[in-house]
């Protein structure tokens, strides 16, 4: 029997990043990591900044997801991302620079920086780098 698959789409306000039938997807929700196999029970969760791992035909794909939501239901998984990038589209050098900049800002500890924003920037940069690694 053929392998069970589920429909997955990764959608951002700009465009549909990814749409395919996949076997497994792992994302980082705000309440921790969770993996979704086909025929998962209906679920809605908000997502943290992190990397989504997608498995299809024994191949893994990584997508940097910068927050958003995921809805699972009827063997269909939708990731509504605020922004998302496929590993291949990530500019590693730029992410690296962003990471250093964010770290600098966090380290400087001066009063005039927006701590929340700097932390979010660092998280995004790390997610990008992590996703880009396994090209």
């Amino acid at each position: 029997m053929a392998e069970k698959l589920q429909k997955l789409s990764v959608v951002t306000p700009q465009k549909v990043i990814y749409a395919d039938e996949v076997r497994f997807v792992k994302v980082r929700g705000t309440a921790g990591e969770l993996g979704i196999l086909p025929e998962h029970a209906p679920l809605i969760t908000s997502l943290d900044i992190g990397v989504a791992h997608i498995q299809k035909d024994n191949q893994w794909k990584k997508v940097a997801v910068h927050g958003g939501f995921m809805e699972v239901g009827g063997n269909r998984t939708i990731i509504l991302a605020n922004t998302a990038e496929l590993a291949d589209d990530i500019d590693v050098a730029r992410a690296q620079r962003a990471k250093e900049r964010a770290e600098e800002r966090l380290a400087s500890k001066s009063a005039d920086i927006d701590l929340v924003r700097a932390e979010a920037a660092l998280k995004r940069a790390l997610a990008r780098l992590e996703a880009a690694d396994a090209k």
Binding site: P13, Q14, P42, L43, I44, S46, F69, G74, L80, N82
Partner: protein
């Protein structure tokens, strides 16, 4: 009868105006197709978001959230989206007229102009806008929509506004832009599966118990601001597409009119010139006859 020289000068000036109109039309056409593509690209997200929100709110119906709270609409706020530049036909005036109709002569209304034309309009009429958003980039960024959304959300939660409307030109097709009013806040959750399109129908009958992570309240409080952002973003995109198509049509008819004018003027010039020649000929013939 105007002098020949004046007519020639006018033809020249109309011709150069026509050239400008044609160039603007070409630019608007190119920009319009890009803006239209952006609207199309944003549609799946908008639809999915609507569906998710519809489902969340149908399941978590009794969850209270500040952005869902309906208050007595004493202080209304209108976010009016126009373009930054003119020369786009009735695009700006039709939306501003609608805004004026909506507001009427109520004084307890705030306006948030988006785009230079709206800012000018309200300033001229002595409405002091609390803030404005002008100079939006050509390819509308989510960041810009977010700023607007966060501004109204903040004021709404602080009870500065009791209800927030968004007025913009909806892109129907290249020839038609429809001034549209939607309610931004309090959020009116769409019915589950209302999202136009096939996906919606498929899931409409499905009212399952969802698992929420971390909880329905948390998801909802994450989702609602995003939803407002998305509405603003989508409206901005539609407005951009409408603006360019309105400009394209306006410039098309302008260059056509210029063409007609040139034809008319040229006819006049030719007639004048011939008249002159005839007169001169008559003079010569008359002179020769007198000599004999």
């Amino acid at each position: 009868m105007p002098a020949l020289r004046d007519l020639r000068r006018r033809v020249k000036s109309v011709k150069s105006t026509q050239k400008i109109c044609k160039a603007m039309k070409a630019v608007a056409t190119a920009k319009m197709s890009r803006a239209q593509a952006a609207v199309t690209a944003a549609r799946p997200y908008a639809r999915q978001m609507q569906e998710v929100l519809g489902r969340v709110s149908s399941v978590a119906g009794n969850v209270k959230h500040p952005l869902l709270a309906v208050r007595e609409p004493k202080k209304a706020c209108y976010v009016v989206v126009t373009s930054d530049r003119g020369l786009c036909g009735g695009f700006n005036s039709q939306i501003l007229r609608k805004a004026l109709n909506e507001i009427g002569d109520r004084s307890d209304v705030s306006v948030v102009p988006v785009g230079r034309k709206a800012r000018q309009f309200f300033r001229f009429r002595g409405w002091d806008a609390d803030t404005d958003f002008v100079g939006l980039s050509e390819n509308v960024k989510l960041e810009e929509a977010r700023q607007i959304a966060q501004y109204v959300i903040k004021n709404y939660s602080e009870e500065q506004y009791d209800v927030v409307y968004l007025l913009y030109n909806k892109f129907v097709n290249v020839l038609v832009q429809e001034p549209t009013k939607i309610q931004l806040l309090p959020v009116e959750p769409p019915e589950a599966g209302e999202g136009e399109g096939k996906e919606g129908k498929k899931t409409a009958g499905m009212k399952t118990q969802y698992i929420f992570e971390p909880s329905a309240e948390d998801v909802l409080s994450d989702l609602l601001p995003r939803y407002v952002e998305m509405l603003v973003f989508y409206a901005l995109l539609e407005s951009k597409a409408s603006e360019h198509s309105a400009r394209m049509t306006a410039m098309d008819s302008a260059s056509k009119n210029a063409g007609e004018m040139i034809d008319k003027l040229t006819l006049q010039i030719n007639r004048l010139r011939q008249e002159g020649i005839t007169k001169e000929l008559l003079d010569i013939v008359g002179g020769a006859a007198a000599l004999e």
